[in-house]
Symmetry: C2
Subunit: 426 residues, 2 copies
């Protein structure tokens, strides 16, 4: 791997100096070469799918792995979208003159070599390559073994595109070693790798955090809350809660816990639990919300006799990112209690308050410590595209460097250029 990283580093030195037009030309060519290699890519994908099926992978994983014409088209479309975005590299972030005459300039620069570790979905291969090429970085990809052949075929196409555009193909390197050792080598390759972004399940992220010596940006884990305040418009609250929980339950910005102010619990919970039941959402209720639901929406609790749609919430439920049609519910006595609960169990991803009380909203927005804090909107908006970044490499759940959705700008660092006329320090 040492050899592959050195090749990436060499390519990064060249990419560092490229103009936007060169990089955009490369993105275009990368898309063309995906078209040209479409048959080979789809054949590689069928072999991956066969092997995954034989290995008994569940349907939803097979679906994530599967490519077809329209998914390939979406990948190429993604490259075109990145082309259309402005290039952050070279941007002057600040400039000033010191009293001693030194001209100071802070400008955005690429990181250099970025490692991306990810799991099944092959579109990440193309997305990550597009974003890193656009920002003048080299990328070393370490994809999941299920998508191994697909990823190799995609990478070959991307590299041909780079070559055709006159850029070093080593700007996109796929590691061919898919065991854990290759992850470990990547995250410990100080001086060769500038940044690693792990994308994937909690166990991958934990492993990377535990063993990395290269700087990393943690992504993804979202134990998100919707808090329905005393002054909430309950129709708005219902829409937001249903959307946050059910619009796509398997993703990090989906809500996992509903907090309801005691003064609206009787009015809100029966309504919301009925609707959730029709959508197949299991509830993990605290005692107060269970008693409300038992009393005012007994049909839901009866469902419990058939399938376990309702249960008493444990503390572990409040700490769990279900990523499934399960919702923990808690009645709180105050805004303070809601904020404290989020402080204890939240993962700093996305948190929402529903209220018509501006003072309560301000309090919540100020005090809740999360990447994205919402007032009267769904947690599902935490996303690079929904934020208007035009692209996304992941969602950071740490506070260092980048927080929340990361677009092109978050793939850059900066440096200071200082121009003088012989100044020395006295």
């Amino acid at each position: 791997m040492q050899d592959e990283l050195i090749r990436a580093r060499t390519a990064a030195h060249i990419a560092n100096r490229l103009h936007r037009t060169d990089k955009d030309r490369a993105l275009l060519a990368m898309g063309e070469h995906i078209h040209l290699a479409a048959d080979a890519i789809l054949e590689a994908n069928s072999r991956d799918l066969e092997r995954a099926q034989a290995a008994g992978e569940p349907t939803h994983r097979l679906d994530r792995l599967r490519l077809d014409e329209s998914r390939m088209e979406a990948m190429v479309e993604g490259l075109h979208q990145v082309m259309a975005l402005s290039d952050p590299v070279g941007e002057v972030m600040s400039a000033w003159k010191q009293p001693n005459g030194l001209h100071m300039e802070q400008i955005r620069v690429p990181f250099g070599v970025i490692g991306i570790i990810y799991e099944a979905r092959p579109n990440v291969t193309v997305d990550a390559a597009g974003l890193t090429v656009k920002t003048g970085n080299a990328v070393v990809l370490r994809g999941g073994k299920e998508a191994f052949e697909t990823n190799l075929a995609l990478t070959a196409a991307l590299r041909s595109g780079l070559e055709q555009a006159g850029l070093p193909p080593d700007l996109v390197i796929m590691l061919t070693d898919t065991d854990r050792r290759s992850v470990d080598a990547l995250i410990r390759a100080r001086t060769l790798v500038d940044l690693v972004i792990p994308r994937g399940g909690a166990s991958l992220i934990r492993h990377v955090v535990e063993h990395a010596t290269v700087p990393i940006i943690e992504t993804g884990v979202g134990n998100c809350h919707v808090y329905v305040d005393a002054q909430a418009n309950l129709d708005v609250a219902l829409d937001i809660l249903i959307n946050s929980k059910t619009q796509r339950p398997s993703v990090c910005n989906a809500a996992e816990t509903l907090l309801v102010h005691t003064s609206v619990a009787d009015a809100f919970l029966p309504k919301v639990s009925r609707q959730l039941a029709t959508l197949g959402v299991e509830l993990r209720l605290d005692e107060r919300s269970l008693s409300i639901v038992q009393h005012d929406a007994p049909d839901i609790v009866r469902a419990n006799n058939v399938s376990p749609m309702v249960a008493i919430a444990t503390l572990e439920d409040y700490a769990t990112e279900f990523l499934a049609l399960i919702l923990a519910v808690k009645v709180v006595e105050s805004l303070d209690e809601a904020i404290d609960h989020i402080g204890r169990y939240g993962t700093g991803h996305s948190e929402a308050i529903v209220t018509e009380d501006d003072q309560a909203a301000r309090e919540f927005l100020t005090r809740v410590d999360a990447a994205a804090v919402y007032h009267n909107a769904s947690t599902r908006f935490t996303d690079g595209f929904e934020f208007g970044f035009g692209a996304e490499i992941g969602i950071s759940t740490q506070k260092l460097h980048a927080r929340g959705p990361m677009g092109l700008r978050e793939l850059t660092s900066y440096k200071y250029l200082i121009r003088g006329t012989g100044q020395i320090r006295s």
Copy 2:
């Protein structure tokens, strides 16, 4: 330690919401309490000094440890300077409206709990406390064992000041356990600590990088170069080289290697080596520069017969941060060779070119990958005060989050506030 970190976390929740005036009042009171406790602090410092002397610590370490009236005054003055700086917390970094009506706002927020690991100098205790309080963070300090009693006395004074100003004293906590285990506990306290900044020697930094699971910012290691180009004004080059190397050789922004373009080597090297010799600087020369010095400044090489002031440079010399009156020297054939040498041996700290050729300067500034790249100025300017930040918590040598001198702004993260009217994602 768990208990101390929880107390810091609780204090950080309060500091998060403070206004600038409250924090400035606290900084003032912290300074007053250092004055009030001056006798106790100086006594504690004498005990530390006695112990260090008995342990046979070298003079320069004793000097770093020693406090006196004027050094105490400088600490208090430092707090006053931080008071005068504007507070980055709450600053709106960007704000926009999405087509769906969502109001997006990106605002600066404190990190929360910041751990600082440092060695002998007790002024770091006060500086770090001032900067973190100003930015609404709590700080957990882990100072060196030589300064143990001094640090405790200083921390007691700082905490009294916080208390008097009505702020939680737990915003400044000094760990009383000074063995390596307390470092390890701090750098692995995920969820309780948001960021750790290690300040100190290479071995401390390496240990922290190797074992941290909390996000860290590496500081300090600087293998800095001065490159004298073919088109350099040699008088300017001489001043800059002498200043970069000798003005304070023990610090990270001091130059360690001189690179000289072959076309000016004959003119520049005899002059510079004579002056360096009078300043007591040892030279590690490549063959070409040795032969020039032997021929044109034989008095320097003769000195070699008395004390080993001149030696042949090894590859290890080029990779070494001497932090002493030693300079490695290499003659290069081209600007490219200079840039490549810096790419191979530099640590991404501070690099300078001396030239009257704007094209060469642009090339150097663009291609050299370092926090601060200088044209016709000394590397010694890489410093928060010299950059006009008014304060400095350290100099980052990594690319994540912050690069180069870190002031108040670099002690903040950000979050997105999103205000809607019931928007849900479709």
